[in-house]
């Protein structure tokens, strides 16, 4: 899987913007701090992906049509491997302060638009949050996944299939969907 650069993201956003009528580039042209934040984020994701795939390759490959038991075992085993390999990982490795500033700016623009209230209510629908999030722990099974409106996803840096953005309450998380663990999360980032 090739990984997109900031430039390719921008070009994809133009295409998507034409489809959705909404075009909010991930980093403002001529804003070096934002461009730098995206480059650093992409590099970190690439690095994580390499680790994820390396560790996953050490596990017995799931059959084409696995049973729930096999999926569960695989998921937990991968989660343990990643947790062990990243035991020294700290919060903010992906969502650096600069990246959080960028995300906050993007959310601010999307949510202050004419449909902002609708977008926010879509994200917060069945999204009560939890008091405490723990890095590298499993996604809490008691709460549903937040909906990510296309207008929010489009301007964020594109992720590989193994990772997703989600909100838990007002915090943005990076979720490893194969291992079902939280790779990073922000402080409250949703504009009031």
């Amino acid at each position: 899987m090739t990984y997109p650069t900031a430039r390719s993201i921008l070009s994809q956003l133009v295409v998507f913007g034409a489809l959705t009528g909404a075009c909010a580039p991930v980093a403002r042209p001529g804003h070096p701090a934002e461009a730098q934040a995206v480059i650093a984020f992409e590099a970190r994701v690439k690095e994580y992906l390499a680790l994820h795939r390396k560790l996953e390759s050490t596990l017995k490959k799931l059959p084409r049509r696995p049973t729930p038991e096999q999926v569960d075992r695989h998921q937990r085993a991968l989660g343990d491997l990643i947790k062990s390999a990243r035991r020294d990982a700290g919060r903010g490795e992906f969502f650096t302060p600069e990246m959080q500033t960028l995300v906050r700016r993007i959310l601010g623009e999307v949510l202050s638009g004419p449909d902002g209230k609708t977008v926010k209510s879509s994200i917060m629908d069945e999204n009560p949050g939890v008091p405490q999030l723990v890095l590298n722990e499993r996604y809490p099974s008691s709460i549903p996944l937040s909906t990510m409106p296309p207008q929010v996803l489009a301007p964020l840096p594109k992720l590989p299939e193994e990772l997703e953005y989600r909100f838990i309450g007002s915090r943005l998380i990076l979720l490893d969907t194969h291992a079902d663990i939280i790779v990073d999360f922000t402080n409250d980032i949703m504009p009031p």
Binding site: G21, S122, P144, K158, H178
Partner: protein, 307 residues
């Protein structure tokens, strides 16, 4: 007595009832399917039950593992005795809460075992309560994909199964292309969040509508099947497309349909329900059936044709 049984077994009662169940601008014919093993508890569906038609059910927001889910599943099994479903499409929230291996059994495999044993294939879309790993669960036939399309085994029908909780640009591009390249007469979109709903708790997802409705209109989608709101609702045709909300397979939001909604063609929010559909040529017949086995909505829809 024996003679009566034989006659009962072989008689295909085609009880033609006057039209009167209109869905959109379509005329409707209502027939009572019979001729199957007698089961007084089985729902009396008002569908043609033709031999060459495509028959399927729609189920959403069901995976609780609780009694109402089991009772709806039992109605589906009774229906199957006289109405041979080929497949069931799942509009998401297939498992609530924990998704341990035993949960897949209690919340899915056990209640729908009669249908699974009979070879009925289930095709899932994921809802906001569903873990992403459900895509690998064999009975959901997702083949590891979060969004996919498949051709029905009968009639010229294609289903487009989308992931509405995470509509990344690449998925939107995919569905646009897939719809454009599809040559089937019937294009049916299936996903969790309704573009139109009169639900007080959730309601219409306007942002998703902005993104998905234009390609649906452009490429002749006829039917949109969704859930998320925990009731049954058929929406008046929107740009020629009929939307169903079938989030009533296990959970129920009693009284949640706005009473003064001007988009509701028919709503049912007092009990769990599922939808059963029959497609024959250019016509799609449908019945919404409650947990108690009553037909709470029915009608016929003609497919959209390219202008």
């Amino acid at each position: 007595m024996l003679m009566r049984r034989i006659l009962a077994a072989f008689s295909v009662v085609a009880l033609l009832i006057a039209a009167g169940h209109r869905a959109g601008a379509a005329t409707s014919i209502r027939l009572v399917a019979a001729g199957a093993p007698q089961d007084s508890a089985a729902p009396t569906v008002t569908l043609p039950n033709r031999s060459d038609s495509l028959k399927f059910a729609v189920l959403g927001d069901f995976g609780t593992g609780d009694r109402p889910e089991y009772e709806v599943a039992a109605q589906m099994a009774r229906l199957f005795a006289r109405f041979k479903l080929e497949l069931v499409v799942l509009v998401g929230d297939n498992l609530y809460g924990a998704e341990r291996p035993q949960d897949f059994k209690r919340k899915f495999e056990v209640p729908y075992q009669p249908l699974l044993d009979a070879g009925v294939k289930f095709y899932a879309a994921l809802g906001n309560h569903d873990a992403r790993t459900q895509r690998d669960y064999k009975p959901f036939n997702m083949e590891g994909k979060l969004y996919y399309s498949f051709k029905a085994p009968k009639q010229r029908v294609r289903f487009f199964m989308l992931d509405s909780t995470y509509p990344v640009p690449v998925q939107i591009d995919w569905v646009e292309k897939e719809l454009r390249d599809s040559s089937e007469d019937w294009k049916i979109a299936v996903f969790h969040h309704p573009l139109y709903s009169s639900g007080g708790r959730h309601g219409s997802d306007l942002k998703l509508r902005e993104t998905l409705e234009p390609p649906f209109i452009r490429y002749n989608v006829s039917i949109v099947l969704t859930g998320h709101d925990h009731f049954y609702e058929r929406i008046k045709p929107q740009h020629g497309i009929v939307h169903f909300v079938v989030g009533s397979g296990g959970r129920l939001a009693a009284g949640d349909i706005a009473k003064n909604s001007d988009i509701t063609a028919k709503g049912f929010d007092t009990d769990q329900a599922f939808l059963v559909v029959e497609i024959s040529g250019d016509e799609m017949y449908f019945n919404a059936i409650s947990r108690a086995g009553q037909v709470v909505d029915s009608g016929m829809i003609r497919r959209r044709v390219p202008p």
